[in-house]
């Protein structure tokens, strides 16, 4: 009896020692084809494009609602820009903003159950509606040449811009403010916030209807959906829009493309691995760098403003409208990571004054200094 046990043990030991050890999980980056025994050495790496599946191979990524909202803003801005050649209506803009009747009251080329207005940072929906009134008013003067106190058109090369009487290009202000109060706010302060991240990550929402993702995965995807980039960004930059476009615009200055995309990929991958520490590290990278990206764009436009000052009034007012709107977006940053409070943003926005015709180089430099110091740009 004793002898046979020893014999069995010996055979077992021999058999074990003969097996080649290594990582046996095909999903691991160091999967060893020859391994016969898993030795716990498997390493996992995030994929290089935004594609994630569950264990059965079902796609778990879904951000159709965000894409629809990006499409809505595209068409809303396209309509707003027609104000350069014809009077436009604030109520059409409002219908598009609220997606009245599921098709922007007939003004969208598509139907959608989503809308921009209900996802907007609540304090600023009326502000945005006010901008619709302002651009409609300015467009009534589309046939006039703009000057200090007179709404109308200014051109530079092949570009045409519509300005209000106080030199503000509202089509840019509207686009950026909605990018901020809806896309940026939803991404950073809603979907990546604790309350949307500390949710279920074990159960698929509704597999019968193709919703194979957990609530947490879906929230993270919704944040990504507002980034406006293809799933293989930044190696592919075709079709980038809104934040994707402005991320790319400052990439050379702050390396934002790979920084942000990598954080989205690794954060999402960490969720599939249920690794909350890595997820949190990456959402922090996203929140901090999205805010920095906003400030970097404001600085980029301020720099352009310094070069156009006194030489190209049309371009100057255009880039000031952009800079003003980008500074204003900082207010939508999450409480836990923001470098400026809304009160501080108010003060900085206030330095632009209410009439861009009256801006001085000192104003521009003062605003720029605050941003470059705060954001280490």
């Amino acid at each position: 009896m004793k002898n046979s046990i020893i014999a069995l043990l010996t055979i077992g030991l021999v058999a074990t020692s003969c097996k080649k050890e290594g990582c046996m999980d095909q999903n691991a980056s160091n999967y060893n084809h020859d391994a016969q025994k898993d030795n716990g050495s498997c390493e996992y790496k995030a994929p290089s494009s935004y594609m994630f599946t569950d264990e059965a191979g079902n796609n778990t990524v879904s951000f159709g609602g965000q894409t629809e909202r990006l499409n809505q803003l595209d068409e809303l801005i396209a309509y707003a820009e027609t104000g350069e050649t014809t009077p436009i209506s604030a109520s059409i803009l409002s219908d598009m903003f609220a997606n009245t009747g599921g098709n922007g009251n007939g003004n969208f080329s598509f139907t959608s159950t989503k809308d921009l207005k209900s996802k907007c940072y609540s304090l600023d929906t009326t502000t945005i509606m006010g901008y619709f009134d302002s651009i409609a008013l300015a467009s009534a003067s589309f046939a006039s040449q703009a000057s200090n106190g007179q709404a109308g058109i200014l051109t530079s090369g092949t570009s045409t811009y519509l300005f209000s009487a106080n030199g503000i290009q509202y089509s840019e202000v509207i686009e950026k403010t909605i990018m901020g109060a809806v896309f940026y706010y939803q991404m950073n302060s809603v979907y990546l916030s604790d309350s949307k991240m500390n949710v279920d990550n074990t159960t698929a929402v509704d597999p019968a209807n193709g919703e194979y993702y957990t609530t947490m995965e879906h929230h993270f995807d919704e944040a990504f959906g507002y980034f406006g980039v293809p799933i293989d960004f930044p190696s592919n930059t075709n079709g980038i829009r809104f934040w994707g476009k402005y991320c790319n615009a400052v990439n050379s200055a702050i390396n934002s493309n790979s920084l942000l995309m990598q954080a989205f990929l690794e954060g999402r991958y960490a969720i599939t691995q249920n690794d909350m520490n890595t997820r949190d590290a990456n959402r922090l990278i996203i929140q901090e760098n999205m805010e920095k990206l906003v400030a970097a764009n404001a600085v980029r436009y301020l720099d352009e403003g310094l070069s156009y000052f006194g030489t190209d009034q049309a371009k100057f007012l255009h880039v000031m409208s952009e800079a003003w709107a980008f500074v204003n977006i900082i207010r939508y940053s999450p409480v836990n990571t923001r470098k400026m409070t809304p009160t501080e943003v108010d003060a900085l926005v206030g330095q632009f004054g209410t009439n861009f015709w009256n801006l001085t180089l000192n104003d521009l430099n003062a605003i720029k200094t605050t941003l470059t110091t705060t954001y280490n740009l």
């Binding site: 989503k114 609540s122 302060s189 939508y332 999450p334 809304p342």
Partner: protein, 359 residues
């Protein structure tokens, strides 16, 4: 061989001696429901009815005599009733929920424009949905505190519509509370106690949901919205409860005590009867190494300390002591975690209200 068997047996025995938590279903919920109905809910509604009757009587005297003494008296009973309301609002189940008592008694911020237009026209249906922001304690807070005593007395002397509006608002409150109280004492009390299960729709589950919902209301309505927690911490000082009288923190403290009372099964005289804490102890609920009931009790005591140290009025403190109020908000959130997440899983109760805000 024998040794081996005895070792195994001892091991098995030790295993079975390990703390044996009793099953949730073994708990007799009748004493808890009886205690809460008879010693907490009904006496609080009775006290509420009495306070409102006194408010009504003093208001009648004010309208008849139009003196500072009677105005003081009205304000005193308003304060008394509003404080007492904090002990009733948690019971938004059964009759109270049928009459939407919480909304009609205490929807804030109140709509001062609507109130004034009601007074001017003298024609209104206070029970209509459209007037929900023009009635209840917040309307009285505005009518009795937004102006100086001298001006209010002058208004009482000169405006019959103003006098009538005060009377109508108070009478509606008294009527609603009496309706709810009567239903409790007539029939609802018995069916409440007789529903002894803990599944969805049972008294225990309903009461538990009402308790957690009300705790979250303190967090969100009394502090979260004024702190601007939903708008990136941009404070909204005019959204506080009792904006004009400035007793917001006092009311929040009373509300928290009322939730503690239900949790402990503590009656109006402070006697600790059977409550949710005993239920948790029965099933041996733990958080870490500590009894969950003790963790929750300690958090109530932390909350009391924090709430006592908040300066009044809250509307000013939002700019002078924002972070202190913010800390309180997070302490309440911690208590929500204990009472919502830990307690529901320990007692097998279901949270039935939805705090999800969609896609």
């Amino acid at each position: 061989m024998n040794k081996l068997i005895s070792t195994i047996l001892i091991a098995l025995f030790l295993f079975s001696c390990k703390e044996n938590n009793k099953d949730v279903q073994d708990y007799d919920r009748v004493p808890m429901l009886t205690n809460i109905a008879d010693n907490i809910i009904i006496p609080n509604y009775e006290a509420m009815a009495t306070d409102l009757n006194q408010l009504k009587a003093s208001l009648d005297s004010l309208n008849a005599n139009m003196t500072q003494t009677w105005l003081d008296s009205v304000k005193f009973y308003w304060y008394q009733s509003y404080s007492q309301w904090q002990y009733c609002k948690v019971f938004e189940i059964g009759p109270a929920s049928d009459y939407a008592l919480r909304s009609s008694m205490n929807t804030f911020p109140t709509d001062t424009t609507l109130i004034e237009s009601n007074i001017t026209s003298g024609s209104y249906t206070l029970g209509s949905l459209g007037n929900i922001q023009a009635i209840g304690f917040p309307a009285l807070d505005y009518l009795l505190y937004a102006d100086s005593d001298a001006n209010i007395l002058n208004r009482i002397a000169t405006s019959a519509n103003f006098r009538q509006y005060l009377v109508d608002v108070v009478e509606k409150m008294a009527t609603d509370v009496n309706l709810v109280l009567t239903q409790w004492t007539n029939s609802y009390r018995n069916s409440f106690v007789a529903s002894t299960g803990s599944a969805s729709g049972s008294s225990t589950n309903n009461l538990y949901n009402a308790l957690i919902f009300d705790l979250e209301l303190i967090k969100n309505a009394k502090y979260g919205i004024p702190l601007g927690k939903d708008i990136l911490d941009v404070a909204r000082p005019t959204y506080v409860e009792a904006l004009y009288s400035g007793i917001s923190n006092h009311l929040a403290r009373e509300n928290m005590t009322s939730i503690e009372d239900v949790f402990l099964g503590r009656d109006l005289d402070g006697n600790d009867g059977v409550g949710f804490d005993d239920y948790l102890d029965f099933v041996g609920a733990k958080r870490g190494a500590e009894d969950l009931s003790v963790v929750i009790k300690n958090q109530f005591s932390n909350l009391e300390t924090e709430m006592m140290s908040l300066p009044d009025p809250l509307s000013n403190a939002l700019s002078t002591n924002y972070s202190q109020i913010d800390n309180l908000y997070f302490s309440i959130r911690t208590q929500v975690l204990y009472m919502k997440t830990d307690m529901s899983s320990a007692l097998g109760l279901l949270i039935e209200f939805d705090s999800n805000d969609g896609d």
